[in-house]
Assembly symmetry: C2
Homo-oligomer: 417 residues x 2
């Protein structure tokens, strides 16, 4: 852009007109006048979900009852969803299951990964990683007898140096939940493998919105959630990836009847299923899986590279508009400017982040506050428009100029922020 | 009953007419002409679930989006459901949460229980327990370093003798999933406590259909599922109970952000929530929880003693009818005749159990085959009628007399039996 270039409503409306993804928005229920930049926390609902769920309830549960385990292939749900999801993260169709929740899948994989390197004790992660990742590492270290230790680097730039011949496991989130900073998955995985370590990637903030190439980086393990960019519904089940080359050695700790080779023989002795199924544990909510499956099926109609291209444009536009319209108000960008090092979110630090986020929500612009001073905005190219970016910038500028965020009710904390 | 008494259709129709619970059936969707004796595997759907779920989807998810975590109290769901469920199992309202799945809750509680008795190594259970319980014990022993061992008694009558001063933990299912035999929870818990051990009760086949009195027996820990007698939907979330006196020492291994005292501070350091919340791990399917909550709310309108009384009558009637109408066909009752030692299910062994169950299903009588030779029938007094018992007996008698079960298609095994 030339230095004289200024963003304008007309400019963004033009981008919307030319947007090849513009029709996708019609598939989602977006409340009137709402600018929703929080699909990285809870993705909106596809319009056809209520009818499809109603069909599931009234036909499969209510009418076909127990026969549905066969008739509607309920038992295969974790595998079927995994197969459909696989291409979105560069996995083979036998390398992914959808099951349980992210934290529990992490626990399973951390133990399984450490068992691959029984002589090593060091786990590398980073401070400020999504906290559950660190908590689960702590819990796993404790249950294994406190012989392992966590080396959590202070800065992401120190990760590569922290990986050495003592390292058993590296556990990282590729796109940082707060800053949106994206790691070099390939370099980190290569370094880990060079030193004989394995890596677990937490894809919660990347899967579905940017091309994750687990095959290309020769990934070992990964997890991710269904309720953010994948629009699977509030608290949707999580996914779990194990590279095929590790399938012979999968040894996860929570072996239930769904990880058994022949679950319906109800044998006292545990004989593990071969392959990715070994990572399952027990009976899953078929309702929650079906809801997520509808969203996955929809997503398969879109090209992830096209999604990524628009995501980059949306983030660039948002940074540009805030810096143009709110230049006087001390917003400090903490997301990388370089698109290649970014996920699909933009975050600013500001001393008054909390009330500003509340004032924005009050004006119909939904972003997140993240403790202690971060405003976080996530963009999903399937329903966010360029004109939304412009309007959000104008609203934020108005809030800052008029200091409406100072109103006492915007400063009141709630249970869930 | 006198020796001349014979069951008849008229007799059972009379019982239905006098049944104080007869109107409850109208609340459930029961397919036309289906006799469903499998509510102990997948409970039928309440009729108002589709409308209520539609409301949840279109208003809470689609319209209120991320604000629903506060506005509709999503975050409190595991606690709220637990509070409502508590009186059904004799628990206080701060002793139960609804979260995750049975197997994973067992894993959490096994580790937490063993940590209460760090100097002991013996775990008592029984052979032929629901297999996942044994598999999860195995997985827990392994992750803790193989120093613990499982003593699984061959006969339930040997359980009390197996509990000694070496015992750290007793893990049992009060109502056996196959035979329906009910254990003396009080005697076993007392014996365990006398020897300084703790007990985990798996209530999968009792909660909701008979009065479980965890307070009365001074229980330590319990788990149970939502999708059987509690009608929470296919794969509904599970519940987890920890007696208040253990709350100060809850130390479960899968600590995620939902077990943190201040989850929204996103702190690197884990500080566990006090109380039952410490047993949570991470983000739950709010859709699955809501579906279960509708069923729990419905159940609160009924008296568990009234349910139990009818359950006993249904089981007695079923045993009586089969023994009267099918006396020539070698069905061997493996469920106790004495009501106090029974859950709400009746099981018979028969050499041709598999094809007979298929032939029954073909005639609209749904029970379960359980490997290798068991026919299992579960009764839920809220929708099963006495006249259903009579008709099922007539149909089974017809199948046996005409040997219709010999048809090849009834002998074909499927993925899920």
């Amino acid at each position: 852009m030339s230095s004289e270039f200024r963003y304008s409503q007309t400019y963004f409306e033009g981008l919307d007109t030319d947007d090849p993804l513009k029709f996708a928005r019609d598939d989602f229920h977006i409340p009137d006048d709402l600018i929703y930049f929080d699909g990285n926390s809870l993705g909106p609902m596809l319009k056809d979900i209520p009818a499809r769920i109603n069909e599931f309830l009234t036909q499969e549960w209510a009418e076909d009852l127990i026969a549905s385990w066969n008739k509607h292939d309920w038992f295969a749900s974790p595998f079927r969803l995994g197969q459909k999801l696989a291409p979105m993260i560069g996995a083979k169709d036998n390398e992914v299951v959808v099951t349980d929740i992210v934290s529990i899948n992490l626990f399973k994989l951390i133990i399984a990964a450490l068992r691959l390197r029984p002589e090593r004790r060091k786990i590398v992660s980073e401070q400020g990683n999504f906290p559950t990742d660190l908590y689960v590492i702590d819990g796993a270290i404790k249950v294994l007898g406190q012989e392992h230790f966590l080396h959590a680097v202070e800065n992401r730039s120190d990760i590569l140096d922290a990986i050495d011949d003592e390292t058993a496991l590296v556990l990282l989130t590729d796109v940082h939940y707060k800053t949106g900073h994206r790691l070099d998955m390939k370099a980190i995985t290569e370094k880990a493998h060079h030193h004989g370590a394995v890596v677990i990637w937490d894809l919660c903030h990347s899967a579905g919105v940017l091309p994750v190439k687990l095959d290309h980086i020769q990934a070992d393990f990964a997890v991710g959630c269904g309720y953010k960019y994948l629009n699977g519904g509030p608290g949707a089940p999580a996914f779990l990836y194990i590279a095929e080359r590790h399938h012979g050695a999968i040894d996860q700790p929570i072996t239930g009847w769904w990880s058994h080779a022949a679950p319906f023989e109800f044998s006292d002795d545990f004989i593990g299923m071969s392959g990715i199924g070994r990572s399952l544990t027990g009976t899953q909510s078929i309702l929650a899986l079906r809801c997520f499956e509808i969203a996955i099926d929809h997503r398969l109609h879109f090209n992830i590279n096209e999604i990524r291209e628009k995501s980059i444009q949306l983030c660039d536009a948002f940074i540009g508009v805030i810096e143009q319209e709110c230049a006087d108000f001390d917003f400090k960008l903490i997301t990388p400017r370089a698109a290649e090092w970014r996920g699909s979110q933009v975050a600013f630090e500001h001393d008054n982040a909390f009330p500003i986020v509340q004032a924005l929500i009050d004006q119909g612009v939904v972003g997140d506050f993240r403790h202690p001073n971060v405003l976080r905005f996530g963009f999903n190219p399937l329903y966010n428009r360029f004109s939304d970016i412009w309007r959000a910038g104008e609203i934020l500028s108005h809030i800052m100029r008029n200091e409406t965020w100072r109103a006492p009710h915007f400063n009141q904390r709630r249970a869930v922020t």
